[in-house]
Symmetry: C2
Subunit: 198 residues, 2 copies
């Protein structure tokens, strides 16, 4: 009954997400978003309430793709728990190697947003907290499985190990953004795994 959209909303979201990922929230202008999505201002503001709303959607979109893929690896029943965590680290290393701009890794949008916005943007913080809780829940389950299948022998409680693994991933991403190469990231992952078989 009316003129249809000439663009795919998800494609626009994906382009906006990549821009926020590369430049951060503050450094991304609405003009940048227009150019990245190929849309005009009106189309963007007609589809999304504001720059911040678009950012929230982009962040949720990022989490929906990235975290979901990572948790799928963690829940793969074909491998023992420790190997799934190893696979998760490999995924992170691949991601850091793959997603770059200006010769540097882009890191991870959730980590970047935690640093840039969590302290003063409660809406973004809430999205991030939900993601962290979800990740930790799956990690705890994997650790319990690892205890049963014998691949994880550390006596630390599952909560501590889950937090440790999540922190290690963050540390790898920071290292990557700081210039660490693939081999370095792989060695960090190896040492991290040592702690699980203590």
């Amino acid at each position: 009954m009316a003129r249809p959209r000439m663009f795919d909303e998800e494609r626009a979201l994906d382009a906006a997400m990549r821009t926020f990922w590369e430049k951060g929230y503050e450094a991304t202008s609405t003009q940048d978003l227009c150019e990245a999505t190929g849309l005009g201002r009106s189309s963007i503001y007609n589809t999304f309430k504001s720059k911040h709303d678009l950012f929230e959607r982009a962040l949720a979109y990022y989490i929906d793709t990235m975290t979901t893929a990572q948790l799928a690896v963690l829940e793969d029943p074909r491998h023992r728990a420790a190997d799934r965590i190893r696979a998760l680290f490999a995924m992170v290393v691949d991601g850091e190697t793959e997603h770059r701009a200006g010769g540097r890794s882009l890191g991870c949008l959730t980590v970047n947003t935690t640093v840039e916005l969590a302290a003063r943007d409660s809406r973004a913080a809430a999205i991030l907290e939900r993601d962290t809780a979800r990740r930790l829940t799956v990690l705890r389950a994997v650790i319990d499985e690892g205890r049963r299948d014998g691949s994880i022998t550390s006596q630390r409680d599952a909560e501590a190990l889950a937090r440790f693994i999540n922190a290690a991933i963050g540390g790898m991403r920071i290292s990557s953004q700081g210039g660490a190469d693939r081999t370095t990231l792989e060695s960090i992952a190896e040492v991290t795994l040592d702690a699980l078989t203590h």
Copy 2:
């Protein structure tokens, strides 16, 4: 032969540093810097070439105080190597607990800057890289000592362990900014130390 400064440059630098630490580079306006330092625009631009120059000075000032204090702990000859690393982690945890705003940890200015600027600001990246190199050098030395005094038994090479420890600190800071409390950070530190005595 002329009118002297009415303000202490180092105090101004400290105030500017705290502002950049709390809000990040992009979100800090020159107005914010005037208010934080108590100086007028002219005084700031007369003393520092630009907002970016002031930021570089503030970052260097942060590194000069923070990293230097941390490396002093790592070089304390009264304790065995592993205990020095434990003390370093305790220092990080204390710092995260101490420096907060809006109910959240401020994290670490070097980590925050790595995330926000390293990819598109080569000058900031160079400052950060120098700091990382310095930290890694000291960490490698501590690990070598730990091998000798028996407090570090991991067979991984010193470079890998140094990178791992540095990454772990970054991961703890991200966790803290993501809302992790003191107890959680302490448990992450404990598990991290496990990897050194593998």
